[in-house]
């Protein structure tokens, strides 16, 4: 919210400079986001009175104007025509500086000298959105007499400042100059002087103008009505326009400007209808009928529905309640009688309707909050007062005011010791009472407790803690001496699964993989891109009702699409090799559509491309398992997973249960992601890995006895896996084999077609004796026989 400081200073005495004021407001809870200087850098622009206007004989479109600038009368040439002799206008003198680095010099228009320039508001640096229609074109003609030669900066208040505030949603009362004046008075410990509202002259009777007001009590809390007659629509006085422009609101005409002024001043939005344009002289506030339409003030035709609350004249909608008025009943130059609405609607309804029609305004942003119902009356009367004050019309006697109930002041009890306990302070009861009084709350000490009367506009204060906060913030949180926690707990812990995850991070990074992080939601089309079958369980994903777009619309049941995305992105960026891993959740519904929270399974994905092959990624997996103390991982050839290469992929089996997959990505999948390099991916159930991990390490004595190395080479069918051979070797080890290493695979002339020769180096060692050749021979023999029996292996000579 924009708060002009000159306006604020009318209601509370402020001697502090703006920076000090901003700090004090911020530290008491009204967050000042910026201090905006209105200074537009204008120099040497003064008020001038137009004395004489005559035509330029050599240029049709130019006028020669004599302007009285106080000490002198100067001649100025202008192209504008919207002014008359006697008018007061801004004159940029020779040597003047205007916004946008414009400097005024003496110029010559077809033989006639011009000693300055008459200025428009735009030329004076005003933004389009606050310039009224009247002043969009032509010279800015001032509203009344000003001494010629006066600095225009003074006239327009350009030496003033505005502060921009962040108002929290619980304090709609602060969305107003008056509300902020209360805060400033409390923060600075100054007296508040609010305007006295009174209308001197009321005539006639409202019932002669309005037949009835009926409201939907569900969605309308109060509808307070006044009528103003004999209205003369014209431009508002400059002081009023300046206030509006400073607050970022465009001046329209005197009646509308006053309603906006009062909204900014008291925080209560108001609306003025042209009473003569209402088809019936009554107001009915009801839900719109489906299919009803209204053309709003911005000229847009809008389709209404039954969730929208509308103001009608008993026949058709004339405004969307709290959001925007209708074009048909708007105040125009011809308006003579005004029906003034000062109402309070259901906040949720206003919020949803303004959102639905994309019409957030100063009015809707206030009415969607919990405004005080008493404001309706105050604001309407204030409008009437101003109407009278600037002579915009005559206020009609009487009001029509419809409501179900109006809140009254309430009481909250506060235990001073509780306040000190919660804040950690040693404030006295007097301190506390002082802070509360500064906020216009009324405390009385009764039996050691404070009974505090809460004004109705403080809807945010409901319980004792709320008052403790008020005391705390006026005292200043920054004035509370900080104290370390005491208590029973001293030792922090990390759960085991986090410890394992940290360990896994270290291992994987140590292996040269970068840690990555991707979104939890993916596109359902990703499942096609990684070739998941239509009936696969992986497609039992949870969908968002309101995703940002299809790309982020389902909760992932696999990390592979994210991994492919990022590998593809890096590939496109020309990154030559990319090794990455992510540990993240996949979301497995317990039923679809879900009625309970899904299983969130921690999952590890590894992705690699570059100078690597299947064995590199497999090694990464194996080292990870080894170092996490997970034993017994088996690799089974996997030919049915459509994401992967049918002949270069393995399922990972632990204790008979599938725990993941590792392999080369299927060629079609690589094409789908436009990656021109072979990609290797592994995906693992990390929850299961945590369960099976063992980070305890026990020392085993180092070998005391020498070992014996033996080689063994066998010829087997080409399809036989080395792993199968190794398994049989280990099976026959009798606990004496320390290491089995594959050192050669040979296919070629030396062996039969369809066969391969596989050679291992086996290292034997016993922990309690020196092995004898004969013992080893027996095992070697057993291995060869078993290999032959199980796999048809023939010992190679």
């Amino acid at each position: 919210m924009l708060l002009p400081l000159e306006w604020l200073k009318k209601y509370v005495e402020i001697d502090e400079d703006s920076r000090t004021l901003a700090d004090k407001l911020t530290l008491t809870g009204s967050h000042v986001e910026a201090i905006i200087s209105l200074d537009k850098g204008i120099e040497n622009v003064v008020v001038g009175q137009v004395k004489n206007i005559r035509k330029h004989e050599k240029a049709d479109r130019l006028l020669i104007v004599d302007v009285d600038i106080g000490e002198d009368i100067i001649q100025v040439i202008t192209g504008a025509t919207n002014f008359a002799e006697g008018d007061y206008v801004p004159v940029a003198l020779v040597g003047a500086k205007l916004p946008g680095d414009i400097y005024i010099e003496k110029t010559n228009f077809r033989g006639i000298d011009s000693y300055g320039m008459l200025c428009s508001l735009e030329e004076l640096g005003y933004e389009d959105n606050v310039i009224s229609k009247e002043h969009r074109e032509g010279i800015f003609v001032l509203d009344k007499k000003y001494p010629p030669g006066s600095d225009i900066n003074d006239i327009l208040g350009l030496y003033d400042e505005v502060i921009e505030l962040e108002i929290t949603p619980n304090r709609p009362d602060c969305l107003s100059v008056v509300g902020m004046a209360r805060e400033a008075a409390a923060a600075l410990d100054k007296k508040l002087r609010l305007p006295e509202i009174k209308v001197d002259n009321e005539v006639d009777d409202i019932n002669n103008f309005v037949e009835s007001i009926e409201i939907d009590y569900d969605l309308c809390n109060r509808y307070y009505t006044k009528v103003i007659k004999d209205v003369t629509i014209r431009e508002s006085p400059l002081w009023l326009q300046i206030r509006l422009m400073e607050a970022g609101v465009r001046p329209i005409n005197n009646i509308v400007d006053i309603t906006n002024y009062v909204m900014l001043e008291f925080g209560q939005p108001l609306h003025a209808f042209d009473l003569d344009k209402l088809k019936q002289k009554r107001i009915v506030v009801r839900r719109a009928r489906d299919g009803e339409k209204i053309v709003t003030l911005d000229g847009v035709k809008r389709d209404l529905n039954s969730s929208n609350l509308v103001i009608t004249d008993g026949k058709e909608p004339v405004a969307i309640a709290g959001v925007m008025g209708g074009l048909d009943s708007e105040i125009t130059d011809d308006t003579t009688t005004v029906l003034l609405e000062s109402a309070n609607f259901n906040g949720r309804s206003v919020r949803l309707t303004s959102k639905e029609h994309n019409l957030r305004s100063e009015a809707s942003s206030r009415l969607e909050k919990d405004l005080d119902l008493n404001l309706c009356e105050i604001a309407a009367e204030r409008v009437c007062q101003l109407v009278e004050q600037i002579g915009a019309g005559i206020v009609v006697k009487g009001t029509i005011d419809v409501y179900k109930s109006i809140p009254r002041e309430r009481k909250i009890y506060l235990r001073p010791e509780k306040a000190n306990d919660l804040l950690g302070t040693d404030l006295t009861i007097d301190d506390m009472m002082d802070y509360l009084q500064r906020l216009e709350l009324t405390p009385t000490l009764k039996d050691g407790r404070l009974e505090v009367i809460i004004p109705t506009y403080r809807s945010d204060l409901n319980i004792e803690e709320d008052l403790i906060e008020e005391i705390g913030r006026i005292h200043g949180f920054h004035n509370i001496p900080i104290k370390p926690l005491v208590g029973t707990l001293t030792r922090g812990e990390k759960p085991y699964d986090k410890i394992v995850e940290d360990r896994a991070d270290e291992i994987l990074r140590g292996l040269g993989l970068n840690q990555v992080m991707t979104y939890s939601f993916i596109s359902p089309r990703a499942y096609d891109r990684i070739r998941i079958k239509p009936d696969s369980k992986l497609r039992d994903y949870i969908e968002l009702i309101n995703p940002l777009g299809e790309d982020y619309s389902v909760m992932r049941t696999t990390l592979i699409p994210n991994m492919m995305d990022l590998l593809a992105r890096n590939y496109n960026y020309g990154v030559k090799e990319c090794y990455a891993y992510e540990i993240g959740n996949i979301f497995i519904p317990k039923e679809l559509p879900i009625r309970q929270l899904p299983i969130e399974r921690r999952t590890l994905s590894i992705g690699m491309y570059g100078d690597v092959d299947f064995y590199d990624i497999k090694e990464v997996v194996q080292i990870l398992f080894d170092r996490l103390g997970i034993v017994g991982l088996e690799y089974i050839r996997e030919q049915d997973d459509r994401t992967f290469h049918p002949n270069r992929t393995a399922s990972l089996i632990l204790k008979g249960e599938e725990i993941g997959i590792v392999g080369e990505v299927h060629g079609d999948v690589m094409d789908n992601y436009d990656i021109g390099s072979r990609v290797y991916i592994a995906q693992l159930n990390f929850d299961k890995m945590v369960e099976e991990s063992n980070l305890d390490r026990r020392y085993k004595p180092l070998p005391k006895y020498p070992g014996i190395a033996r080689d063994i080479a066998v010829v087997v069918d080409e399809d036989v896996l080395v792993g199968e051979l190794e398994k049989i070797i280990w099976k026959n080890s009798q606990g004496l084999i320390e290491k089995v290493e594959l050192f050669d695979i040979y296919v070629g002339d030396q062996v039969e077609e369809g066969k391969k020769s596989v050679a291992f180096s086996i290292f034997y060692r016993s922990s309690d004796r020196t092995l004898k050749d004969e013992e080893v021979n027996v095992i070697q023999q057993a291995i060869v026989e078993d290999l032959e029996k199980q796999l048809g292996a023939v010992l190679r000579a």
């Binding site: 304090r171 969607e368 986090k498 992080m517 009702i545 890096n570």
Partner: protein
Amino acid sequence: MREKLKRIRKEAMSNIEGLDNLDSLEDLRIKYMGKKGELTLALREMGKIPKEERPIIGALANEIRQQIEGELSRAKARLMDEMKRKRMEREKIDISISKNTRKLGHQHPLLHTIKELEDLFISMGFTVVDGPEVETVQYNFDALNSPENHPSRDFSDTFYITEDILLRTHTSPVQIRAMKQIKPPLRIISAGRTFRFDDVDDTHSPMFHQLEGLVIDKKVTMANLMHTIDVFIKELFGEDMKTRFRPHHFPFTEPSAEVDVSCFECKGEGCTHCNGTGWSMELLGCGMVHPKVLENCGIDSEEYSGFAFGMGIDRITMVRHGIDDIRLLFENDNRFLEQF
């Protein structure tokens, strides 16, 4: 005989001294000490000399043998030493060349920040807990005292899966889970993914990260909260970092505050980054746990009090590393990741 031996000695010594390689050394050894070596042959002739001279000549011969052997082994050592030196002389390399074959993976800067924060809070006595990304409306809003009409509940702010199930919009539901599971006193923190209906731009992401902290005990005060935050900020950003507690509003705390720290750019002088205020805004939200929230979790608000705080980790990470676009955190561009 004596002369012969002395001559052999003289000649051998001079030959050994002139040695320049190991092969010749072996030749010399054979020449004198081998089976047909001169000294060996000379000794075989011992029988020919008179008996009484034999011990003297024998002693002399032994002495000469030891001398030659000694000289040979010294020469060997000298030659080996020379060879080693020459080899190393030849092995001069260009030490400016890099091989670039070893790789150490990089930690994601955001996850690095989380880990650092977790470790920091663990050292302050907090225990790390986890919560689900998919949450109930009950835990995400209702139990946290969020008004039913609060805009944050709208479809335009929160991702919903059903009417009652959503993607958590903050880590605060972990507070509820912790309070329902653990009897006070408790001190926990929880970091994780959070989601809000924000279109992607350089400062917004529909997925982001928060870290939440909660302390419940008897007689926990605002002063304790402020101390905890102060310690944490100083640890994270340095001792000279100032903090400012600014009263604010959250439905689940009362009193509530936002914490600003000295502007990271100007260190408090006032600059364009901080709108001239000298403060970096809204680093963290915190407050004393609202009595309704305590009651919602079955904790007696007259007996216990507590504080909670939450912060956006993405922003902290960006500020620490000078990252100007949040999208970089989720794109996983190697050229970005490998800077950390």
